[in-house]
Amino acid sequence: MSGDDEALLRGAIKEYYIESREHVVVPDQIASREFGYQKLGYDGMIRHQSLPDEGALRVLLSREAPTDVYCSNARYLFPSMPMKEKEWQGADLIFDIDAKDLDMPCREGHSVAVCSECSRVSPAGGPCAACSSSKVSLRSLPCQKCIKAAHDETEKLKSILCGDLGVDPASITVYFSGNEGYHTHVRAADLDGLGSRERRELADYVMFRGAVAEAYGVPRQGAKRRDLPARGERGWRGRLAAGLGAEALKKAAAGGRDRYQGALEAASAAVGARIDPQVTGDIHRIFRMPGSLNGKSGLSKVRAGPSPAGIYAESCLLADRPVEVLAECPHRFSVGRRRSLGPYSRERATVPLYAAVYMVCKGVATAAAGAGGQGVN
């Protein structure tokens, strides 16, 4: 990242944390949480930070202008000590759903390949068009289909959490991650003390992983067959019948226990909530802090509404003064309130600050000289 890019981002981030204080959600029991952050010009994560109160958090945000801020879902007696000495006290249950894990067919069409060798931008799916290097990193631009799919998965997750696992809807808070996913936070006393293995078990449950044929009506040879799942039944039996179709289940069962087992295993992707199980099982994770900026996009992690339609605009909280960038992007895209940006073929463009930050974060633009000097320093 060039010095001009860094200056642009630093200025915009600092301005956000000073001018838009109300957007930052101060974690409850802040003194018991571990914080971490990443900042420009520093490789890696600064972890094991503890903050006594909201004031200390605000000072850190405005002083360090971090690109990404993370806060533990766990609470500790000694949050700044090494992990083994922190004395874990409990943790919110969290679920991460990311559009990149949903195998959306549209993905290649709104992704670009940024070359690690020459930084040029090409359409996704091949080597760098400029230098033919195969070392490219894929960056996805906003897509309503993807974000809707992630939103739908989150709704599915919520329905399982509330209907099956008895989670009180009031204890669930869903956030848009600021990039292309949703974070679901559950604050429930009975789940708070669960360890990593138990949380992985809950993850398997919501994903419909580990189901055995015997539990869904088809026993091993010789045993008595039970009823196959039918529509209208509650829990996984009903969802399975609705998702795969009662006829398909009947057909698979007629093929024998192994075939039926195969059908159940394959069903996970179709009927299960497609969360990242690693996130849910990790009780020491530091997780993007609500209201903070996402360094992959410059958008904020904000509370999600009932519809995903306006989420990119709702999470776009940086200023909109014009900034000049050198842009290169083969696709047209929208960000924030700008419905149409690009395509750009390595050209100068004047865009709102939020769009400039977005494009620099995605690697499809670099700041023009002096572009970063206009924000708060």
């Binding site: 003390g193 138990e198 189901a211 829990g235």
Partner: protein, 339 residues
């Protein structure tokens, strides 16, 4: 637990009141160790221990419904004396077996009481809540156990039928039969009994106990598990990880960690493991050696061990075959207990 009756004391003698019961009857441990008239109780205690050593569950008149005072005395006295003998022998393997056998015995009574439409049903529910904080709810379908209570225990079971996804779960409750409810707490019951034995003070050397203590030590030694490596073959998850690297494909960080910890656990050194990662698309010799040394605990750091099968399954790294039956860690693959 408060309010335990005489019959409950006999059925669940591991509850604290069993000691009081003996005291109330005017006996002491010393009396059992010295009074020839009390030797029959020591012999009963040995029967309990020998049943456990053979993998059986002790049966007595109580099982057949004999609730007489003598029957209750026999139950409580023999249990308490058995724990004293085990403590005196310091027989760790046998303590575990005894605890499991006694918990299975208690299960029988718990299950019967749960299944009955009577006030007796309250006792198991109280016991489960009092000892293990499991709030069991009675319903027309059987019993409902809160999801959190269920998964805290079920994650220790290797049979896949216990996975939450294979249960009927609704409104925060897991539906179970009386048998399943008591099975759920078996290990905790066993742990509770074993802990009671471990925490009890070492009894003095007493003449009635000595020959039995020596016999228990012998029994315990014969039960120490002996493992032999019967094959040098790697488990399918490890083979799969190696194949991925050989093909030059990306192996996720969790897969690399599993491979490294497994091979370190099998005695490979860092220098022998590092070349396996040469096929990784992002291979960097310096980084690989740094990571391997870190995992191996070189320089006095933590030596990491290979993740268990259930974690690997959650990470999508498990490629279970029939040969994996009965193991809970890749490290156990190919190892069988000697007869």
């Amino acid at each position: 637990m408060e309010g335990i009756g005489r019959l409950e004391c006999a059925r669940y003698p591991f509850l604290a009141n069993a000691g009081e019961y003996i005291a109330d009857k005017g006996f002491t441990i010393e009396a059992f160790g010295t009074d020839p008239d009390l030797v029959p109780f020591i012999e009963l205690a040995m029967r309990r221990i020998e049943a456990a050593a053979s993998g059986l569950v002790y049966s007595s008149g109580l099982d057949a419904g004999d609730a007489s005072e003598q029957s209750v005395d026999r139950e409580v006295f023999s249990f308490v004396v058995a724990t004293v003998l085990l403590r005196a022998a310091g027989a760790r393997s046998l303590v575990r077996r005894f605890a499991l056998s006694e918990s299975r015995r208690a299960e029988r009574f718990l299950e019967r009481s749960l299944a009955r439409e009577s006030r007796e049903r309250d006792m198991p529910a109280r016991l489960l809540e009092g000892l293990f904080s499991v709030r069991v709810r009675r319903a027309d379908y059987g019993y409902g156990v809160p999801v959190a209570s269920y998964v805290r225990r079920s994650v220790n079971f290797h049979e896949r039928e216990w996975k939450l996804v294979n249960r009927d779960v609704h409104a925060g409750l897991v539906r179970l039969t009386a048998h399943q409810v008591v099975r759920l707490v078996r290990q905790e019951l066993a742990d509770h009994i074993a802990e009671r034995i471990r925490q009890s003070p070492t009894p003095p050397t007493l003449p009635n106990f000595e020959p039995h203590v020596a016999r228990i030590r012998g029994l315990s030694e014969s039960l120490e598990p002996k493992y032999a490596e019967v094959t040098g073959e790697h488990p399918p998850c490890v083979k799969h990880a190696m194949a991925v690297l050989e093909r030059g494909e990306n192996l996720p960080h969790s897969g690399r960690f599993m491979l490294a910890t497994f091979l370190l656990g099998r005695g490979w050194d860092v220098g022998r493991i590092a070349p396996l990662f040469k096929g990784a698309p992002d291979y960097n010799e310096k980084t690989t050696l740094y990571q391997l040394n870190n995992i191996s605990g070189a320089g006095g750091g933590t030596r990491y061990s290979c993740p268990l099968c259930d974690k690997l399954e959650s990470q999508g790294l498990c490629h279970r075959t029939a040969e994996c039956e009965g193991i809970i860690s890749p490290m156990q693959f190919g190892r069988r207990r000697e007869a």
